[in-house]
């Protein structure tokens, strides 16, 4: 009886009793959701273009952020360091296309997937060699990102909104919108969709597969850089950050691997769901449910939509 009360009564009573915490939880969930969506977007872009689940997306977040901080530590002004970091991500995209993807054309997807594993461990080792293993502080002020917080009273309590979180939500939303428009309205976007449907058909109408791959890997690199800046500003830039990229997995399961709107909606559902789940129902089992609860949410959705929220329903006739 007590357990039933903890599950079905107390969480809702707490929501009514402490509305400030409910709003705070929703806000934290929203910010996390937007950032998860951004990470998931990096995966989706590459999956759409090459059918490859890019396991290296997480380390790209760390590598790009470390590059930015590393340039700044060398005395390069922050904005120029940002531009140079974007440049490094372009070089990385070009190198990946030349060294990893091009030689593996027409190989099974699993080979490409394994190649991204190799890329991950190479970037970890290379990054530690160049930047060292110690965490670095993100150059938040130098990049003109806001700090501080605004507090307002609500229901006898207070809600605290970090300015950095507002900036993260706004920048991530703009980024998602720009990429969404770019890949749905432009010629390159249409080419990307053609490549996603069929490599051979795309090649037959003159679309350069190699060029598209460089573009999507570069776009995924820029997404990784923005994610690294935002998450690094919330904590530190360390190699532990790459694990956060795995948060995108339930988002992808939920939203589908090929859908940009899916990544956005999936990110928000997972972000909000895990925060609410952890906060209101976590205490029932001693807390710490956030990590696996995200997968529970995704799997529940999968029961009803196996292809994900916006994933394409594939019918193969035999």
């Amino acid at each position: 009886m007590d357990l039933l009360s903890q599950i079905f009564v107390e969480p809702f009573a707490l929501m009514v009793e402490m509305p400030d915490l409910l709003v705070q939880t929703l806000w934290e969930g929203f910010v996390s959701g937007v950032l998860y969506a951004l990470i998931a977007l990096g995966f989706v872009l590459i999956f759409k273009a090459s059918g490859v689940f890019n396991f290296a997306q997480g380390i790209m977040v760390v590598f790009s952020a470390l590059t930015l901080v590393g340039f700044y530590a060398m005395g390069v002004p922050a904005i120029l360091a940002l531009v140079l970091a974007i440049g490094v991500m372009f070089v990385l995209a070009w190198t990946v296309e030349r060294v990893v993807l091009r030689p593996l054309v027409n190989q099974p997807d699993i080979i490409l997937f394994m190649a991204t594993f190799g890329l991950t461990y190479f970037l970890i080792g290379f990054g530690e060699l160049v930047f060292g293993g110690e965490p670095k502080q993100m150059i938040t002020d130098e990049l003109f990102l806001p700090t501080g917080a605004t507090e307002f009273d609500l229901g006898g309590g207070y809600v605290r909104i970090q300015h950095l979180d507002v900036a993260a939500a706004v920048i991530a939303s703009i980024m998602i919108a720009v990429l969404g428009v770019f890949f749905s309205k432009t010629r390159i976007g249409r080419a990307l969709r053609a490549v996603a449907d069929s490599h051979k058909a795309a090649l037959s109408v003159g679309i350069s597969l190699n060029q598209i791959w460089v573009i999507v890997w570069f776009a995924a690199g820029v997404v990784a850089l923005v994610t690294g800046i935002m998450w690094g500003a919330r904590s530190d830039v360390s190699f532990a950050l790459q694990i956060i990229a795995l948060k995108a997995l339930p988002v992808l399961i939920l939203g589908g691997f090929t859908s940009i709107p899916g990544a956005i909606v999936g990110g928000l559902i997972i972000g909000l769901g895990e925060k609410i789940g952890e906060f209101y129902w976590g205490p029932v089992v001693g807390g710490g449910i956030e990590t696996w609860f995200a997968y529970v949410i995704a799997l529940i959705f999968l029961l009803f939509r196996p292809q994900g929220l916006f994933g394409e329903k594939i019918i193969e006739r035999v």
């Binding site: 707490l14 402490m18 915490l21 705070q24 939880t25 934290e28 910010v31 996390s32 190198t95 030349r98 060294v99 030689p103 190479f122 970890i124 080792g125 290379f126 530690e128 060699l129 060292g132 293993g133 110690e134 965490p135 502080q137 917080a149 605290r160 970090q162 998450w231 919330r234 904590s235 530190d236 360390s238 190699f239 532990a240 950050l241 694990i243 956060i244 795995l246 948060k247 895990e274 925060k275 952890e278 906060f279 976590g282 205490p283 001693g286 807390g287 710490g288 956030e290 990590t291």
Partner: protein
């Protein structure tokens, strides 16, 4: 050569050079005392692991450079990179074991737990300095395992003593709420039994806030729970990237930072510095001094840094975790020196050093000889008590550096020791065939 070949060669070169950094060097053939250090300079916990690894390395190097080693025998120091991963740590142990180490320093509670059953069999003592299994302080049950100067349980008791003092006595703890914010790993869970026992005794409520390793930098939900429960104090038992994130989150959410007290592993300079000026008032337990104003530190600068033999930035000499590594190596060196005195041998073995560890007696005079007056408290280990339940102090971050916030404090040994003995018995019972102690006692 094509671009592709060049690129492959470059990648291969990078991998080889990276591997050379993280793999143990080949066994050395020169005569000496072989001391392997299981360290982590890579991965998610490198932020905590690097200063400690450098501190351990630099003190032993200083002894080699200044004194020609210990008792005239050079120390052969070899690092093996574990990445704070238990499986890799055990692999490291296997790789160094063949070279007859005089002891092993796992630097991870998870790895220590794996090596405890191996120690007596392989005749390699385990030195888990203020970490590992608290129950291993019982020398009767664990004759090959040592965790001086204090256990996690001692640390938790000092934390409770500290908050009781701030509240005006233990009687005022009744009705208070205390949170344990911990890494959800064997290390993080270690203080729970003693905190539960003290909560029951003194009437405060204990709330647990586990943080999974993958969420070390994503603690938003945990801090919402903290805000809901409104604990009066938080005891932080974190590691790696978890600590600076916790300090930042405490500030972000408006938790009074002066009421958050970290265990000694949550007291790194970078942990506190992450919170900026607002982190002033954050506290952490410690058993070693901070700063470079000790003669021993000057010797390290002269004999190691000035000769370019250290990887640690000179301007950071004196960081709390760097100094902790130095303290750890001081224990290693003193155990070897004691073993040499007991056995009369210059080149000692693992069995000899086990006896050395069991007879460690670092007096105030000895600390002065080593240039460590005020750096550490006197310490002694006995056959029965492999930890010693020594004093620790509460250090306070002033916004730029750690300062000694209060005097050295005794743990609540009368409460902790019975729990340790009971837990040791429980461990032996749970592991069928756990050997009875047969090793002779020298004290």
């Amino acid at each position: 050569m094509s671009i592709r070949h060049l690129t492959i060669a470059a990648i291969a070169g990078a991998i080889v050079s990276t591997t050379a950094l993280v793999a143990p060097a080949s066994a050395q053939t020169e005569e000496g005392i072989y001391v392997p250090l299981l360290t982590y300079r890579t991965g998610a916990f490198a932020g905590s692991g690097i200063p400690i690894a450098d501190g351990m390395h630099d003190y032993l190097t200083m002894l080699n450079e200044r004194d020609g080693g210990i008792g005239g025998v050079r120390i052969i120091v070899e690092e093996c990179e574990t990445g704070y991963d238990t499986k890799r740590g055990v692999e490291c142990y296997e790789s160094v074991r063949a070279n007859d180490p005089v002891m092993v320093n796992p630097y991870s509670t998870g790895i220590t737990l794996q090596l405890i059953p191996r120690a007596a069999v392989d005749k390699v003592p385990v030195l888990s300095m203020a970490y590992g299994l608290s129950a291993s302080a019982d020398g009767e049950t664990f004759p090959w395992v040592f965790n001086p100067p204090v256990t996690y349980w001692d640390g938790a008791s000092v934390f409770v003593k500290h908050i009781a003092e701030r509240e005006g006595g233990f009687e005022n703890l009744a009705g208070k709420t205390v949170g344990l914010l911990h890494l959800d790993a064997p290390y993080g869970r270690e203080p729970i039994p003693v905190l539960e026992a003290l909560a029951e005794e003194h009437g405060f409520e204990l709330k647990l806030y586990p943080v999974a390793a993958q969420d070390m930098q994503n603690q938003g939900s945990v801090w919402l729970n903290i805000r809901r429960d409104r604990p009066d104090y938080i005891y932080l038992q974190g590691w790696g990237a978890m600590n600076p994130t916790a300090v930042r989150e405490a500030i972000r959410t408006g938790f009074p930072i002066e009421n958050m007290i970290g265990v000694w592993w949550a007291g790194g300079d970078e942990d506190a510095r992450a919170g900026g000026a607002d982190a002033a008032g954050y506290k952490a337990l410690s058993f070693n001094g901070a700063g470079a104003d000790f003669p021993v530190m000057q010797d390290i600068i002269t004999h190691v840094h000035d000769k370019g033999l250290s990887q640690f930035p000179r301007e950071r000499v004196g960081d709390m975790l760097y100094n902790r590594g130095i303290y750890n190596s001081m224990l290693i060196a003193e155990a070897i020196r004691t073993a040499q005195e007991i056995t009369g041998k210059d080149v000692v073995t693992g069995e000899d050093v086990r006896r050395g560890l069991e007879n460690l007696n670092v007096s105030e005079e000895r600390l002065a000889e080593m240039g460590m007056t005020g750096f550490a408290a006197p310490l002694n280990v006995t056959c029965e008590n492999h930890s010693g339940n020594h004093q620790v102090f509460v250090a306070e971050w002033d916004g730029e550096k750690w300062t000694v916030g209060q005097d050295w404090t005794e743990p609540m040994t009368d409460r902790v020791r019975p729990l340790i003995l009971a837990a040791a018995q429980e461990y032996a019972s749970a592991n069928a065939g756990w050997p009875m102690r047969t090793e002779t006692c020298d004290n």
